[in-house]
Amino acid sequence: MQTMVETRNLRKTYNRPDGSTIEAVKGVNLEIRQGEIFSLLGPNGAGKTTTISMISGLVEPTEGDATIGGHSITAEPMAAKRLMGFVPQEIALYPELSARQNLAFFGRMYGLGGKALNRRVDELLEFVDLADRQNDRIDTFSGGMKRRINLVAGLLNSPPLIYMDEPTVGIDPQSRRRILDTVKLLRDEQDMTVLYTTHLMEEAQELSDRVAIIDHGEIIAMGTQDELTQQVGEEDRLEFTIGEQEIAETLFERIQQKTPGVTRVLYNPTEQLSDDSSESVPALMTVFAKRGRTALPQILQELDSAGVEIQSVTVREPDLEAVFLALTGRALRD
C-alpha cells in the first residue's frame, strides 16, 4: 500500500516567557498508508494537535519534516496542502455567514470558483443533510449541525487525505455517531486517508485501521489494535471505583500476592477536575488478572475486609486503554 504521510523525526520546541523551553513533540516518526484511518490516541496535552499542525503546515517544525504524497510540507508546502483537507477541533466557521457562504469562502481558498464551486458546495450540503439549511447563519445551527459543516469544509477540494483533530468534541451522542459513520464512509467509499486524533479510546478502537499512542510528545506504541493489545498480553482489567478514602499500600500488595492470576495493581487516587472546581474524579483501582472474572470474588472480599467502600466494578477485555495504562501507568483520562 502506498504511503500517504510520512514524518521523520518531527520535533517542536516552544519558548516559554521565562526563557526556558518546552518540547511539545519529541521526534515523531509516522508512516500512514493510503486509504487507512490512522488514529493518534493520547490524553489531552500529549502532543496530538501539535503533531497534526506540523504535518498540515500550520506550525513549522523545529526539526524534522513530513511528506504528503511525496511532497515535503516545509519545502513544497503548496503542493502538499493541495492533497489535504483539515477538520480542526474547533468550529472553524464564520458564525455570521450562512453554511453556504462559509463553504463557498473556504472553497475559494482552495482555488475553486464558479460552477465547480457551487456544485461542490451542493454535494457537500447534501452529504451532511443540511441542504435545506444552507442559507441560514451558522450561529443559528445546533452544535451537531455546526460539526457537520465543519467536517465537510475540510472536504471542499476532494482531498485524498484529511486530518481530523478530535472532531467529536462537545457534541451529543447522536451527532457523534453521525460523524464517526461519515469518517468510515470517507475511507470505504472514497478511499480517503484519514488521520484522526482523539483522546477517546472507544473512537480510536471503532474507527482505526492503525493507531499510534502518543504521550508527552512521544509515540509510545504504534500498530493495529491486535498488535497493540498483544503488548499487554491476555490480561483482563478490573476497574474498581472507590469513594474518597485513604487506602494502604499493603492492601494492594495483599491482593496481588493472595489472588490467583493477578499480575499488577494500579491505583489512581481521587483528584479535583481543576483548581477552582468542586467536582472530582473518584479514585480508581485497576487490577490486571489473567482470568478477571474468576479473581473478582476474592478481590472484593479483600476490599470488604479492609473496609473499602466500592462504588462500581467493571471487567474489561484487553483494549487500547489497557495498552496505554500498561505503557504509562496512567489512565487515558489523566
Binding site: G57, L58, A79, R82, P88, A92, Y94, E96, L97, A153
Partner: protein, 518 residues
C-alpha cells in the same frame, strides 16, 4: 489575486453585517459631529461663534505714502514747467505730517491702541473717524487725532506687535498665535496709489500692485480663530480701500478739471492762487466722501492669506465652518478604531481557527494578510466617505439649502480619503503587530487613537502645530479643510499620509509576521 479578493470581500461582508459595529462606525461620529456643529456653529445662523482673546501677532512694515509724491504734479506734467509758472509754485510741497500711513492705523486698531496719524487731522487731509461705515468709534472728540477702536476688538483679540514677518510666522507655527497679520511696506501706496497721466494727459490713479497686500498667516490648528482674525482684517482694510478710492477719485477729478481749465485757457494761471488750490486739495474732508466710500465694493485683493485657506470659510455659514474640521476629525478618529480592531480580528480568527483553516489551504500567508488589509482599507475608505456624505446631508438640512461642505473637487476628496484610509490601516497593522496579544491591542489601540485625537484636535481643542503634526488626524483634517475652501495645496498632506501609511504598514507587517507564528 482571487484569493486576496475573496478574503477582502469576506472582511467587508462580515463587517457590514455587524449592527453594533455599524453603530460605532457611523452613528456615533455623525451624532457627535452634528452636536458639535450645532453647539458651536449656531445652526444656519450667520453669526460668528463666541470667541475671545484670540492671539494675533501684528507686524507693521508699512512705509506709508507721501501725499506730495502721490500728487506728484511737477513730475507727471513737466510741460507746466515750460510755462510762466514754476511747478514748485503751482503745487508747493505739503507741510510736515502730510504723510499717510494706513499700516500704522491698521496695527493700532488690531492692537487696540489709539490711532495716531500725522496726516489725518480735520484741517489737513482727512480723518478716518469721519468716514461712514467705519469700524472706528464715532463718538470721539472732534479735532483730536486719536480714534479709539470699537470696544469689541479689545475683547476679541489679544494682539502683540512684532518686528519681523519671519518672527511672526514662526510664532504662529509654534502655536503661540492663532494668526499673524503682516502689513507689507507698500500697503499705504497700495491703498492710495500715485497718479499717472495717460497719453491724453488725463490723470489716472495707477493700479495697485500685489506687493501691497496684507498677509494673514493662519494656524492650521486654530482655523476658526484664524478665520476670525482674517475677517477682522478684511473689514478694516476695506475701510482704508474706500478712503483711498474716494480720495483718489476726488483728486483725480479735481486735478483733471484744473489741467483741463488750463489747457482750454479758462484759467489765467497768473490770476490763480495755486497755493490756495493746493491747500484746498489737501483739505479734502473725507466726511463728505463717506457715502461714496460705502458704495464701493471692498477690495478683497488687499488681503492675502498664507498657509491656511480662509476665504471660503468666511463665505460659508458657521455650521459648515464647524462641521468641516469637527466632522472630519470625528470621521478619522472613529476610522482609527475600525483600522485597529479590523486588523485585530485576525486574532479572533486565530481563536476561532478560521485563520488556521485558511493557512492549511494552499494559500500563501502573505495573501491572507494582504486580503485582510485590503478589506480593512476598503472598509475604512467607505466609512470615511459615507461619513463625509452623511455630514454633507446633515449640513444641508441644518443650513436649509444644498451645501457641499467638503468642496466640489470630488476626485481630490477621494484621493485624500484614500490616503487617510491607507494611513489608518497602516497604523492598525502597526498597533496590532506591536502588541503581543489581543488584550494588549485592546489596551494600546484606544490609547494610541485617543492620543492621536488629542494631538490632532479631534476633541475640540488644538495643540501647537508642531505637536499636532504628529497626528494623522491633523493632516487629514487639514486636507479636508483645504478642500472645503476650494484650495488644492494639500500635496504635503497626501505625501505625509501616504508615506506614513506605507511605512507603518511595512513595519507592522514585519512585526505581525512574528506574531503570526501559530
Amino acid at each position: 489575486m482571487r484569493k486576496i479578493l475573496a478574503v477582502a470581500f469576506k472582511e467587508l461582508y462580515v463587517t457590514f453585517r455587524d449592527r453594533n459595529l455599524i453603530l460605532l462606525m457611523f452613528a456615533t461620529p455623525l451624532v457627535l459631529s452634528t452636536i458639535i456643529g450645532m453647539a458651536f456653529g449656531s445652526g444656519g445662523d450667520s453669526g460668528l461663534p463666541d470667541f475671545a482673546d484670540i492671539t494675533v501677532a501684528v507686524v507693521n512694515l508699512d512705509e506709508g505714502v507721501d501725499l506730495q509724491e502721490t500728487l506728484n504734479l511737477p513730475d507727471q506734467f513737466p510741460n507746466l514747467g515750460a510755462g510762466p509758472t514754476d511747478p514748485a509754485a503751482l503745487l508747493p510741497p505739503l507741510p510736515d505730517g502730510a504723510a499717510l500711513n494706513f499700516g500704522d492705523q491698521l496695527a493700532a486698531i488690531l492692537l487696540s491702541q489709539p490711532v495716531e496719524s500725522p496726516g489725518t487731522t480735520a484741517t489737513q487731509g482727512f480723518d478716518l473717524s469721519e468716514l461712514e461705515c467705519s469700524l472706528l468709534d464715532q463718538s470721539e472728540s472732534a479735532g483730536t487725532t486719536v480714534a479709539a477702536p470699537l470696544g469689541s476688538l479689545d475683547e476679541l483679540l489679544d494682539a502683540t506687535a512684532m518686528d519681523t514677518a519671519d518672527q511672526a510666522r514662526a510664532a504662529v507655527d509654534n502655536g503661540e498665535f492663532a494668526a499673524a497679520v503682516i502689513i507689507p511696506p507698500g500697503f499705504s501706496s497700495h491703498v492710495m496709489p500715485p497718479f499717472a497721466f495717460d497719453a491724453g494727459f488725463i490723470p489716472r490713479v495707477q493700479a495697485a500692485g500685489v506687493e501691497g497686500t496684507v498677509e494673514v498667516y493662519a494656524s492650521g490648528g486654530l482655523p476658526i480663530s484664524a478665520s476670525i482674525v482674517h475677517s477682522v482684517v478684511v473689514g478694516i482694510v476695506n475701510q482704508f480701500v474706500r478712503v483711498g478710492v474716494a480720495l483718489g477719485a476726488t483728486l483725480e477729478t479735481s486735478v483733471e478739471a484744473l489741467v483741463e481749465g488750463i489747457v482750454q485757457g479758462e484759467f489765467d494761471l497768473n490770476a490763480v492762487d495755486l497755493s490756495t488750490l493746493s491747500t484746498d486739495l489737501q483739505d479734502l474732508d473725507a466726511a463728505a466722501l463717506g457715502p461714496l466710500g460705502c458704495l464701493i465694493t471692498p477690495g478683497a485683493n488687499n488681503i492675502s492669506t498664507a498657509q491656511k485657506p480662509l476665504a471660503a470659510i468666511q463665505e460659508a455659514p458657521p455650521f459648515s465652518r464647524i462641521i468641516v474640521p469637527a466632522g472630519a476629525s470625528q470621521a478619522v478618529f472613529f476610522a482609527l478604531f475600525t483600522g485597529v480592531f479590523g486588523i485585530q480580528s485576525i486574532y479572533q480568527e486565530r481563536r476561532n481557527w478560521t485563520l488556521q483553516r485558511m493557512i492549511v489551504s494552499p494559500t500563501p500567508r502573505f495573501f491572507l494578510l494582504i486580503g485582510k488589509l485590503l478589506g480593512n482599507l476598503v472598509i475604512v475608505f467607505l466609512q470615511i466617505l459615507i461619513l463625509l456624505a452623511a455630514l454633507t446631508l446633515i449640513a444641508s438640512l441644518v443650513i436649509g439649502q444644498p451645501t457641499l461642505v467638503w468642496g466640489t473637487n470630488i476626485a481630490a476628496i477621494l484621493v485624500v480619503t484614500l490616503a487617510l484610509s491607507l494611513c489608518v490601516t497602516g497604523l492598525g497593522v502597526f498597533v496590532v503587530g506591536l502588541a503581543k496579544s489581543p488584550e494588549q491591542v485592546n489596551l494600546f489601540g484606544p490609547m494610541i487613537n485617543i492620543s492621536l485625537a488629542v494631538l490632532g484636535g479631534a476633541f475640540g481643542f488644538a495643540l501647537p502645530d508642531q505637536a499636532a503634526r504628529f497626528s494623522l488626524i491633523y493632516w487629514g483634517v487639514d486636507a479636508f479643510t483645504q478642500l472645503a475652501n476650494a484650495q488644492t495645496d494639500f500635496a504635503l498632506n497626501l505625501l505625509v499620509l501616504f508615506g506614513q501609511g506605507i511605512l507603518l504598514f511595512l513595519l507592522g507587517a514585519w512585526l505581525f509576521k512574528r506574531r503570526l507564528d501559530l
